[in-house]
């Protein structure tokens, strides 16, 4: 009871803008996870490394005087490179996907340290014209509007580009590769090439997210990507559970699903803000995230096993 009384609804409310902003930014990474996990059917753990790589590259370039927007492009490219390495380890060297991605992730830890020269590098929003920043949330109305409008518009543009891309011949080849390799090969699709391509696009988005998030929090940290894959999966699954029925069967179902994934990331950060507000020690957050993802991942399986008969039988 004492705990309950000590909670202030206002402080929860105050935490919301930050949670939404974080969710939108991490939603971009969730789109990347969606591409590998759902479209390519590949559990890609590169994410934990490539997110920090994106952050590190962006921050170091900004510190060197490069425009923060260009730094984001570079973060995207750095992420793609990480995806390329995982893809080659898997397709050219025959290492199982999940292992290949762990190898890349681990090696990226050293590479990220090398990029930054130390484990943490800061950029001050007063010094640079950052694309996004924590500071903008507490700014005046015009700044807030510009910030949220910009981030939401950016997310929608990304969704539109991805929607268009996965409707092209090449995008369909990636989806066929992820859905049914035998069919893809029989139709002349180079499944190795398209696997690498999808991993590059996915990790490009993850790197972009890392670059944005580093600008948002004003620093890149070698550990900023730790557990990112779990957040990405949580966003994908929460998005599907919350909005799946709304998306199914629609003409733009795929675009809606991607928006749902971004909203899933927002929902994840709102829940996190709520749990923190309940004064749960933040040390336990990763445990909490993992439990949430485990529950959501097991639902389809348990439904099939103990749920209503008739669908499978």
């Amino acid at each position: 009871m004492a705990l309950l009384f000590s909670l202030s609804p206002m402080s929860l409310l105050r935490a919301m803008p930050g949670a939404v902003a974080q969710g939108l930014i991490w939603g971009i990474m969730a789109l990347g996870v969606y591409i590998t996990y759902r479209l390519l059917d590949f559990a890609d753990l590169t994410v934990d490394g490539s997110l920090a790589t994106g952050g590190a590259v962006a921050v170091m370039l900004i510190r060197a005087g490069v425009d923060p927007v260009i730094a984001l492009v570079a973060a995207f490219a750095a992420g793609m490179l990480a995806g390329f390495v995982t893809g080659m380890l898997h397709t050219a060297l025959g290492i199982p996907g999940i292992l290949a991605s762990i190898l890349t992730q681990i090696s990226l830890y050293s590479i990220n340290l090398n990029i930054m020269g130390k484990s943490n590098q800061a950029i001050n929003v007063d010094q640079y014209q950052l694309v996004v920043s924590l500071r903008y949330i507490s700014g005046d109305a015009a700044t807030k509007f510009k910030f949220y409008g910009g981030v939401i518009l950016g997310c929608l543009v990304l969704v539109a580009i991805l929607y268009r891309y996965f409707g092209t011949e090449q995008g369909q080849a990636i989806r066929a590769t992820g859905c049914n390799k035998s069919m893809a090969k029989a139709q002349g699709i180079n499944t190795n090439f398209h696997t690498v391509l999808a991993l590059m696009i996915s990790n490009g988005l993850v790197g972009l997210c890392g670059g944005l998030y580093a600008q948002y929090q004003g620093a890149a940290d070698v550990n900023m990507g730790r557990g990112a894959i779990v957040i990405g999966l949580a966003a994908v699954i929460i998005g599907e559970v919350l909005f799946g029925k709304l998306c199914a069967g629609k003409k733009l179902a795929f675009a809606y699903t991607m928006i749902a994934v971004i909203l899933g990331a927002v929902a994840y950060y709102i829940v996190i803000a709520f749990v923190l507000w309940l004064k749960m020690p933040s040390d336990n957050m990763k445990l909490f995230s993992a439990i949430v993802v485990a529950i959501f991942l097991s639902i389809p399986y348990l439904k099939g096993k103990y749920g209503k008969k008739g669908v499978a039988a």
Partner: protein, 267 residues
């Protein structure tokens, strides 16, 4: 003129050097004329499906060569051989992408052997073309272009896969027991459709089957395989006059009467 397909002394051993070593193809030789429709029969493990997979390039062969339409494809990987081949598999799930729509599956097949570019995956004109083609199946699929293929029945999926195989006219159509997983009525329909597509497009085709009646009733040529070799090859009038009992006798002769528990008995 070049043969549509030449299989020259093809050998393939699985799990070589282990206790599970299995000689799957033991010097297969076969030439197909343009327009040949060959049915392939044989007991379990005779090398029928393995022969088709060798042609399709699912794995590299140990020895020999495969020549399609005069071009040696022995060294080409599976996806590069695809431009010569239309394929329908035993498992209806194998030939199509379940999470993609009917039109997307067909559009992917329409681009078999072509570069995948950044153009739209399905064009308006194609949509109309696919609709017309699906109408001929008489399965009501022409109104379900955007339905996911995973929602279709096994027979419907095989029918769509057959259409897909013929969208880009293949040098060779490979049918690998493509009716074995279907109920008898659906199997008969899919077989009739196969005949129609082969005839209309004047295709060269190979069809593996366990059903001897089907093997006799379809195609212009029949081969029997046993222990990784072609042991019987009939065509034309001689094939037309074959009876199931002839094939059983032939099979008994080569296998020394040990066919009692074979699936072939069922037909």
């Amino acid at each position: 003129m070049a043969y549509a397909l030449e299989i020259k002394d093809v050998h393939k051993t699985f799990n070589s050097g282990t206790i599970n070593e299995k000689i799957a193809l033991d010097g297969v030789n076969l030439n197909l004329e343009e327009g040949d429709f060959v049915t392939i029969i044989g007991g379990n493990g005779a090398g029928k499906s393995t022969t088709l997979n060798a042609v399709a390039g699912v794995w590299p062969i140990d020895k020999g060569s495969i020549i399609i339409g005069g071009q040696d494809v022995t060294a080409l990987p599976e996806h590069k051989r695809a431009k010569f081949l239309g394929r329908v598999f035993q498992d209806p799930m194998t030939g199509t992408a379940a999470t993609m729509s009917i039109e997307e599956n067909m559009a992917i097949a329409a681009r078999r052997g072509k570069r995948r570019t950044l153009k739209w995956g399905v064009t308006k004109a194609e949509r109309e073309q696919f609709k017309e083609m699906l109408k001929t199946l008489d399965l009501g699929l022409e109104d379900r272009l955007t339905s996911k293929v995973g929602l279709l029945s096994g027979g419907q999926r095989q029918a769509v896969t057959l259409l897909m195989a013929s969208l880009q006219k293949p040098n060779l159509l490979l049918l690998d027991e493509h009716t074995a997983a279907l109920d008898p009525k659906t199997a008969a329909k899919v077989l009739a459709l196969s005949d129609k597509i082969i005839e209309e497009n004047n295709l060269t085709a190979m069809m593996v089957t366990h059903n001897m009646k089907d093997a006799i009733a379809h195609g212009n040529r029949l081969i029997m395989m046993h222990e990784g070799k072609v042991i019987y090859d009939v065509r034309g009038e001689e094939k037309k006059n074959l009876k199931v009992s002839d094939l059983l006798a032939k099979f008994e002769e080569v296998s020394g009467g040990e066919f009692a528990n074979d699936r072939m008995m069922l037909s």
